[in-house]
Symmetry: C2
Subunit: 458 residues, 2 copies
Amino acid sequence: MNNNISIPKGCRDFKPEQVYKRDYIFSTLKQIFTLYGFAPIETPSMEQLSTLLGKYGEEGDKLLFKILDSGDFTKNISDADWQEKNYSKLSLKICEKGLRYDLTVPFARFVAMHRNDITFPFKRYQIQPVWRADRPQKGRYREFYQCDVDIIGNNSLMNEIELLMIINDVFKTLQLNYKTIINNRKTLQGLADECQLNEHSTTFFTILDKLDKIGLEQVIKELNQLPISNQKLEQLSNFIALLNNEKNNKNKIDIAKNFIRNDIGNKGLNELEYLINNTNTLHLFKNLEFNILLARGLTYYTGTILEVKSTEVSMGSLCGGGRYDNLTGIFGMPDVSGVGMSFGADRIYDVMESLTRFPTNILQPIDVFLANISQGYEQYIINISTELRKNNIKVDLFPDPNVKLKKQLTIANQKNISWVIIAGEEEIKKEMYLIKNMKTGEQFLLKFNEIIKKIKTV
Amino acid sequence: MNNNISIPKGCRDFKPEQVYKRDYIFSTLKQIFTLYGFAPIETPSMEQLSTLLGKYGEEGDKLLFKILDSGDFTKNISDADWQEKNYSKLSLKICEKGLRYDLTVPFARFVAMHRNDITFPFKRYQIQPVWRADRPQKGRYREFYQCDVDIIGNNSLMNEIELLMIINDVFKTLQLNYKTIINNRKTLQGLADECQLNEHSTTFFTILDKLDKIGLEQVIKELNQLPISNQKLEQLSNFIALLNNEKNNKNKIDIAKNFIRNDIGNKGLNELEYLINNTNTLHLFKNLEFNILLARGLTYYTGTILEVKSTEVSMGSLCGGGRYDNLTGIFGMPDVSGVGMSFGADRIYDVMESLTRFPTNILQPIDVFLANISQGYEQYIINISTELRKNNIKVDLFPDPNVKLKKQLTIANQKNISWVIIAGEEEIKKEMYLIKNMKTGEQFLLKFNEIIKKIKTV
């Protein structure tokens, strides 16, 4: 008998209160996604490793959970393979499948596989767990939920506007203060070209992306390692400082247009300007912030890049996404433009929890605790519970008349249930019921119909 | 570029229509579980292998999906280990975790781990996927959902009655015809004792359980391999035949009481009689059938055993369960009685699909397709969509005014959306909207408020 029971690190059990809160987030997202015309899909937890490998960079490949092949997995390993002890090479000989690392690659695989059954533009949402063998820490789990919403097969910027509206609806409903940071990959590319760093663009973007963390001085120091002239670096530094001091998005665009004078950069800035103009007049998007340095890790973005952050709690991004022009290309279906984003339900949960922003009414879905104190009156008790349930009243019928009433009331209290109905022998004979409000302590002796009215009107 | 994309065998993608149907089953179950006072929990997809191994028999251990340890998994394997090539022994040196095989063992682990935070009797439900490396076939998948509902920490038979009522509510709501087969482990034990086969009880139960599949003659033949006297075997054979010809549950109990004359058997029969009496008078349980041969695979049942089958489609059980008196004992928490059952959502899905029993109204949650044909009127179109959504009308706004109206209408049709709203330049100027019912072909030119009325009243 083993008392040292545990669950794998980075994984979590969820008790009822936590499930209610998580479901509140999921159902809010689902409801809003549906309001915007998105339809749900689901993909398997396991994918072929060939589908997953090479899609998340070298680091990502290492973080994939691999599933050991069933049966004799040693049969594909020669003694020579074994002697080499290259574990990463070996793992591919004994594992064919891996756990989903995100929802984007499975979605691309889904679209490529089912392209003939899909009506484009395809607006889908997907709310499922993903797994990463990351080092667990605050706000980072090994099993966590992603809530993705994408429109694939259309390149109109109207899609981006709808996504920005969804962000607004979601965080307004959840009563969280937030800002949406937007940028455009083409603008970043234009900036790299302007600095003659197009051959070093990835490094360039990565350094720029760190501004918030390490400050401008350090960023400039790191940029100095790249082949950029001192004059250009000074201009760039001034440009970043100028943008940093400007709050108005339209002015920022003007500043950027002044600095970035090439086609691709200009195209990106025009797209950003379109989004800013169309959301400005909506009076919805006080929360929109153009930040030319936002890159986000994923290299597959080709247009809009966006990220949502809490303005109340310091936490990684709560939502992130962007436009990709060739996501399904890796699965043999080129030139399909899409745009989408992913809400991090676990981080949103952590933010809401730390701000105690969850509505209290979601925490107690059970209406009535039906105390059971009269042995031999099972039929009677069952009938009451059935009638209450027919009236859509959620009843926790205590199963055991051998347990003392006092103990039963304690249990009702621990379960935080508002109403207790007590049908003792006396009451049963009179066809009356004692109903007690556990919050106020009030008691009433009522007929059955009056009980239903009482519970429903409070 | 790889065109040969696939997903692991026994796994499935779900398209929107399938997700809607699956959600209909899940939400029906959730709603009824809640009506009966059950609260949800969730456990991680991965458990320590030490939690899972040895709980499902030798066959079950083989069907566990094991997760390869991250990093250098070879470090725990010596060359001698390797030379031995005992893959099942090796697997335990390179895998610490496995995927959940069912919800019962994780639930027992959960209860033992969180015993101090739980109010008993604990009524929980849990709806999550499980994974088994089984050979895929019709109705059997490698990733499938279990929907479990258990009451733990109380041994009153009222719990069983509530479970039987839940079964009734679930299948009535899903409009499926079914029967619930019940038995009791004690009765089975009493039967084994009566035949002096208590040392061979597992084999005995397994043979009896096959009656439906192989017929009485074959069962008797197999029983003949056991150390049972010819006289006893003939008595047993007559007893089974007698029960088989009797439809009335009360009469069956009487027949069984006459044959099984030992304490444990009698205890089981009294429990069954209690359930039959209390459900009979409810007039709810025309579907209840006492079958003394029902054993079900799981050896941890100690009292009631139950199973639900479709009476319309030939399919394995749609729900199964029973009482266990020592489930948490393996995790160091002995003597906790519980009773529960598991609904097989995937099988229920397959039955409903084959009988076309899904309500059609669950298949189209999008109310309106908003055609977009007027370049430069983005603001206007966005405003309409926002107003409609404020009225809780689900709108699929077509993102691209460059696509011809005819093509847009085709897309609306393919998406099976009932209403299309068209706001051309002319209509916009008049503040009127053309609204078309795609089912009837009717068209109306309406003001905004009239549109909302039109959509909501149909």
